[in-house]
Amino acid sequence: MSVMSAVLVGLAMGLVFGTALEKSRVFEPGMILGQMQMRNFIMLKIFLTAVATGLVVLAVLNGFGLTNLHPKVTLFGADIIGGLVLGTGITLAGACPGTVLAQLGAGYRDAWVTLAGGLAGATTFIYLEPTLKPLLLSGGPGKLTLDGLLGMPFWAPALGLTVLLVAGLVLLERWRPWRDDLGADCDGML
């Protein structure tokens, strides 16, 4: 696909993604902080629903041979350290790398500062990467996947996990209806 068509596809998908992030209110810092303080569960519900939907989509597409999967290489040290640093940043920012852009679109001023910090962080990583590569970003077991470990076709554990996720979401919703977590101004302030 040409760069131009890829950009048009990206913009169209982004419009849909941004609408879903805004309408679900998960772009609100109050929702993200509330989730991290285990007081608000809207972020987890969206996240797990998106994972479950993705599992079904990929089980079908991959099961019928329409697409290959692209799991990331497992690097235990990098996954753990990177994940911890990322999570710390998410709480301080009140955003994820994608939802910062939704905050910008909705009008939050501090999102510009978060975005600038993100670009500075990415720039820093570019210059650090050659140093980090032998220490943290190489070796490891390669593309480790659950289906690979189980020796099963992807669709089987994918659909199995989907069932577990849906059951978990049903219980979560019964325990804590999503409307109770919205807040009066739909910003997660309870």
């Binding site: 760069v3 950009v7 805004e22 309408k23 679900s24 994940g83 640093v85 994608g98 500062v113 993100g118």
Partner: protein
């Protein structure tokens, strides 16, 4: 369940299904999974190249400079801003300044405190996402949906870091 653009809020399940379905065009048209954080590398590498042509010599930067997949992801995050802009205007939910949540968790409305915190947050977010090779989208939504063991680990670490930091702040 209603879902009009003029609604203030949609069900998280509807939003989750919509986001999950975006894997269809991502895999079928672009041959990649949904992700957001490597777009920051593409933009940063181009910005850095304006003042330091040496950046082109760094493999990691040059891999992110060109090509349909890199520009697709930059367009995706630009589209996210556009979608949120349209959606917030359609429902009269536009925001200004910053969220009242910050006053509650840090005890002041002062930009002198919130802005450095937002910058540090953004910095750590992208540094961490690039070390782990993925963020909430790439490792979270897409990695787990591909049953990647590294993604399960990265997401667990992400929540551990996020929850640990949030516990140091005041309760919302």
């Amino acid at each position: 369940m209603s879902c009009s653009l003029t609604d203030k809020a949609w069900s998280p399940y509807l939003a989750g299904v919509i986001i999950g379905l975006l894997q269809i065009p991502a895999f079928l048209l672009i041959d990649t999974a949904l992700g957001a954080s490597s777009s920051y590398v593409t933009v940063s590498a181009h910005l850095a190249a304006l003042i330091d042509t040496g950046v082109n010599g760094i493999d990691y930067a040059s891999k992110h400079l060109q090509g349909a997949k890199n520009w697709w992801q930059v367009a995706l995050v630009v589209g996210i801003a556009g979608g949120a802009w349209l959606s917030s205007r359609s429902s009269g939910m536009t925001r200004s300044g910053y969220s009242p949540i910050w006053r509650r968790v840090i005890g002041t409305r002062a930009s002198a405190l919130r802005f450095p915190m937002a910058f540090a947050g953004g910095f750590l977010m992208l540094l961490g996402a690039r070390i782990a090779d993925g963020c909430t989208s790439g490792h979270g939504i897409s990695g787990i949906a591909q049953l990647s063991i590294g993604s399960f680990i990265a997401v667990a670490a992400m929540f551990a870091g996020g929850i640990g930091t949030a516990m140091l702040l005041r309760r919302i």
